[in-house]
Subunit: 384 residues, 2 copies
Amino acid sequence: MRDVAVIGTGMTKWGELWEKSLRTIFVETALLAMKDAGVDRIDSMYVGSMSSGLFTGQEHIASLLADYLGQTPVPATRVETACASGGLAFRLGLMEVASGMSDIVLVGGIEKMTDVNGYEATYALGTAADQEYEGYHGITFPGLYALIARAHMEKYGTTREQLAMVAVKNHRNGAKNPLAQFPFEVTIEDVLNSVMVADPLRILDCSPITDGAAAAIICPAEMAKEMGKPVVKIIGSGHATDRIALSSRQDVTWLEATYQAGKKAYEMAGKGPDEIDVLEVHDCFTIAEICVMEALGIVEKGQGGRAVEEGLTSLEGKIPVNASGGLKSKGHPVGATGVAQIVEICKQLRGEVGDRQVKNARIGMTQNMGGSGGSTVVHIFERE
Amino acid sequence: MRDVAVIGTGMTKWGELWEKSLRTIFVETALLAMKDAGVDRIDSMYVGSMSSGLFTGQEHIASLLADYLGQTPVPATRVETACASGGLAFRLGLMEVASGMSDIVLVGGIEKMTDVNGYEATYALGTAADQEYEGYHGITFPGLYALIARAHMEKYGTTREQLAMVAVKNHRNGAKNPLAQFPFEVTIEDVLNSVMVADPLRILDCSPITDGAAAAIICPAEMAKEMGKPVVKIIGSGHATDRIALSSRQDVTWLEATYQAGKKAYEMAGKGPDEIDVLEVHDCFTIAEICVMEALGIVEKGQGGRAVEEGLTSLEGKIPVNASGGLKSKGHPVGATGVAQIVEICKQLRGEVGDRQVKNARIGMTQNMGGSGGSTVVHIFERE
């Protein structure tokens, strides 16, 4: 298997993009990545999207987007594993280049979520849960994560304020990201006084509904060097699944798929949690970021809340988490999120993110999660 | 890249399976494939499904199915490219085993289409077209293929009777397939007198709405030999895209993606159309089989209709096409179809299909198509 590098990334402003369609958002973003990489043709493409069918009435988007990008007849593949669709698309692109099957591959993620109303969007997101045993009984995603939060508070003494501190930190970072959907700061009081969604989670504990895309161009590391590009190598990749319904798990506060995917990525990279300089994780709800840090071994089991309170994961902390603003402030177009995390890490390792730059960042990691943790994709990157 | 072989296949009875859910149908089918292969664990799995979201309100099915198959935490990936989702899932599994990343991979396809009503199913299928430029103007899939049929009749003199002969041949084969949804014969008169759907296509020119799944287990060819299994090697694979909307194409009677995918598969296999002993193609409508034979180089451009009339593609002909009954008689659970074609070819090459066995079949091919030809996946197999 060959070493593979990211040589270009693209992202456009995220938000409620009512004036743009799915294809427009994707093509604009993909062209930015191709321009950044200095390529005008690709050998193959992968697109992550959770539910273009329910959100926009359009399936078959890999062909549609290859067409509108002017790249037919290249092979184009759409992959889906709920909110981890983007990370998974990246992993398959990596496999294709590493195996020698293709050289230049475009990996993108897209979700156009605001063409439907709030009820329809909540229903579409709910299809990531076990519909027969969870969804049809009325529980929504905030409800599932509220159960996790309540259990974590009960078991480990995590406080309501610590949950709020995740949102405060991520909004502080996101305020420095001009492409974020909500680039402003919030206070602990703002979070604690915001509208209740599913006790104990309030609206400012939840990532928003977002339209957006993200894209990256990958190629063999040797080719990247020949092209004179900054080489950000992909040194680790892990993908794992867990029982899909919360009721099937031994301990709802533990994200087994994240643990398993992280383990594989660490082993492949020959690195441990202590060697990660900058980390983007799937903070779809504030409690998620806390559980993910524990499952990735960044902190001990049960210590995620305290770590945030002590500043371990702030921009100036020992291991900055979600410098981009995370899903909370940057937005969460579900299929695009995994690729956007990779865009952020690559830009961090290339030193291109201005005010939110993590100093001396050489090794970065991304963790992208589907549903309430039923699937997870982890990648580790190193700047040569 | 390593040689890869199919060592097990599974398929259950297709039809309107109201008493079974998506997960039940898939798990029963996957277990048959695992039993046939003699394995009780897998390293990874791929599932093709066109729109589990619109048909059943369930996305994230890769994790769901890995869970219900008792295989977590293995990586599980769902892929989609409309009605070619199954073929594409197989191609990615092939890539994973060929690259050395995994040894034993389960590839499956599933669609549960009868939990919605006819209007909703037609809408869901329509999401494979270009919704903004085709679907929203009211055209359905029978309508798109009717345009292709009319153009083919006008350009090449293809007759209404020749279209009917595709259905007659495929039903004659399907009558010998106990797993087919409609295992009975029809006559030319039956087709010509059946209900009009979109002129010139009548109901007996159209593949049905079906619930069903199909599965295969693949592994390195060397490992298959060590296990003492009949070795059906995958010697060619091609995947290509075309402009998605019919109005964007130079010639609507020509399936460019099928031509391109076929070309790649032939090159990889070092074989030509004359060397194929048995062929399963995507006859979603009778006209589709005619156009596909031309794009794959089985017959000259414009000669597809005449070839059927002359018996070239019947079970006793020079190159039997759709010995399984095809989509027309066997059924068309869209995401499963591509894998079911592979199941049929593997069983043909292993000599296990009884009455519909093609004599001395050693090399087989499958062609699986998305939408009105916007994507196509082709595979070539050889029995050692």
